[in-house]
Subunit: 341 residues, 2 copies
């Protein structure tokens, strides 16, 4: 087992001072060409790797960014992480991932541990619990310590920071319109509780589309689902007296669960009922029939978030740049579960 080689050892071996070694390695011109050359060659020979912890301590920055997401076993979030990771790595940063598991307490704990200085900034998406509680003291605290925060997808207006979201309302507005244009008259909505920021936005998009098309909103075909594990029953009650010819769902799982029930009852998709989901995951892509879906471009979102954060981190200017709110455009991926227009 080889010992880690440090600048100090190089200095000793070459009989120069540590400062000389340090400068030589960083190509400072105050060190003679020959000495520099000699030191660099020796360092390479010994396979010297700078100790990043020492550098972090000295420079007061770790080049690590912390990412906190509610859940990782989730297509959308993994694509976002993927984007963050790629962008961050390209800019010389590492990504430390923490899972809040949709728990407020864990979100707080994660922030506190990470903020303990091994991290330069945060990217996060709020848990449902946090959105419900509206308790953001942990965010305020890290921001107050000068740590930049970028929120994505599940954001809150109550915190001042960079945000990056999807045009949820508009996306659903469009999708609803698409259904209307393809001839659907009675569009059911499978959504979440209103305290989930994105769920609320999406519901609004749906409502607006119906209004604009002069279609009466029917609360009986709007299903608000609290728990994904128990969505089956709530959805099946929709089918009791089937009064809809399309279903718009706020995620993949609700959509697919509804499709199964439709199939079970012998309904034809999309002839009898059309379906549109959200999140372009494996389910949408491979279900039979394949599900038309709103794609959120999570990868791009992640990239963008990382770039915004890092830009702020590397900004030397004294005056703070104003916070930005970036909206990522969704697109509709038409597949087999909808009629073409």
């Amino acid at each position: 087992m080889k010992k880690k080689v440090t600048i100090k050892e190089i200095a000793r071996e070459l009989d120069v001072s540590v400062s000389t070694v340090s400068k030589a390695l960083r190509n400072r011109k105050e060190i003679g060409a020959e000495t520099t050359q000699r030191i660099q060659a020796f360092a390479k020979l010994l396979n010297y790797k700078p100790n990043s912890i020492a550098i972090s301590l000295k420079n007061k920055r770790s080049r690590n960014i912390g990412v906190i997401i509610p859940e990782i076993v989730h297509h959308f979030f993994t694509t976002v992480i993927s984007g963050i990771e790629t962008a961050a790595n390209n800019l010389g940063y590492n990504v430390i991932v923490c899972l809040s598991n949709e728990s407020f307490d864990k979100e707080v704990i994660n922030m506190e541990t990470l903020a303990g200085s091994s991290i330069d900034g945060f990217i996060l998406s709020l848990t449902k619990e946090t959105q419900k509680k509206k308790d953001f003291h942990h965010l305020l605290e890290v921001i107050d310590q000068g740590m930049p925060v970028v929120m994505f997808d599940r954001v809150t207006e109550e915190i001042n920071c960079d945000k990056i979201v999807v045009d949820d309302a508009y996306a659903v507005y469009n999708a609803t319109n698409h259904l209307i244009l393809s001839g659907c008259k009675r569009i059911a909505l499978l959504t979440t509780m209103d305290y989930v920021s994105v769920g609320k936005q999406r519901t609004m998009g749906y409502l607006n589309a119906l209004n604009d098309a002069g279609i009466q909103v029917d609360e009986n075909i709007i299903v608000r689902i609290e728990n994904i594990e128990h969505c089956e029953n709530q959805i099946s009650s929709l089918f009791e007296d089937q009064k809809f010819d399309a279903v718009l769902s706020v995620n993949e799982v609700f959509a697919v669960t509804a499709m199964r029930q439709a199939l079970n009852r012998g309904l034809k998709i999309p002839e009898d009922v059309s379906f549109i989901g959200f999140t372009n995951g494996l389910l949408s892509k491979y279900f039979y029939p394949r599900l038309t879906t709103i794609v959120q471009h999570g990868y791009k979102m992640g990239e963008k978030a990382a770039k915004i954060l890092i830009e702020r981190l590397e900004d030397e200017e004294e005056e703070e740049k104003p916070f930005i709110k970036e909206v990522i455009k969704t697109s509709l991926r038409e597949r087999e579960s909808t009629k073409s227009i």
Copy 2:
């Protein structure tokens, strides 16, 4: 923006030495009860948080563990990460995630950056490319520097370290048997190229099961798929002259793709053809019909990996414990795509 408070400032304010503060905060008994009390109260008041980077530098350990996985948009890997994360957090460690994106080069780069001392140990699953190339110098290097490595799922015998795998061969052996017992006679296999360690193991399990049951192996109904994007054609050729009554697939996507084709041709599942997949993801759970699947218990695998790594990290003993190879038992989740026995 509040400045970060350090031990030094506490010492100054309270007119004691930094060593006294440090000791008081860690409850050393060499500091008087009253002083300790006073210091702790003041630290709390100022919301003092130790600087973990400084601690890392001093203690030569960061309490960070690096995780490198081939792909994150993948159900199995996310469950593993989830397990790693939970176990690691419980033991006071943070998880730094890097993605190799199935690229050998990126795997090497990731290891090198992470090894640059901000990490105490590694957990990783090899990329396909690495398994094909059989080039493990980057692993040898970090191990040689005394950094413990735990490999999971996609492992190699050529490196000496802790490993944690699934009983792939046995799992598929069992699943095949299950199909045979349920009356299937001609079982097709959808698998990957042999250089993928797990693919190879799984194929072997299949072969052994057939042999033990005295069923002739038919190479025509074994499909080796290189690229998941182009599996459609290879699978459909299987159906040309359909000579099978069951399909065993080495992952979800192949299974579901085949099921779609069966459905398209009007075949009944499971009456005409039975299906078994691997990886208990959303697809298996929500496809119609629901897919019987081999569940790998990725979460448990991740937990185990983290525990093994951390145990080794915290082991003070001089003599190295021998490396262990833990096998996680799979189980078969029976659903609608197979006939019951």
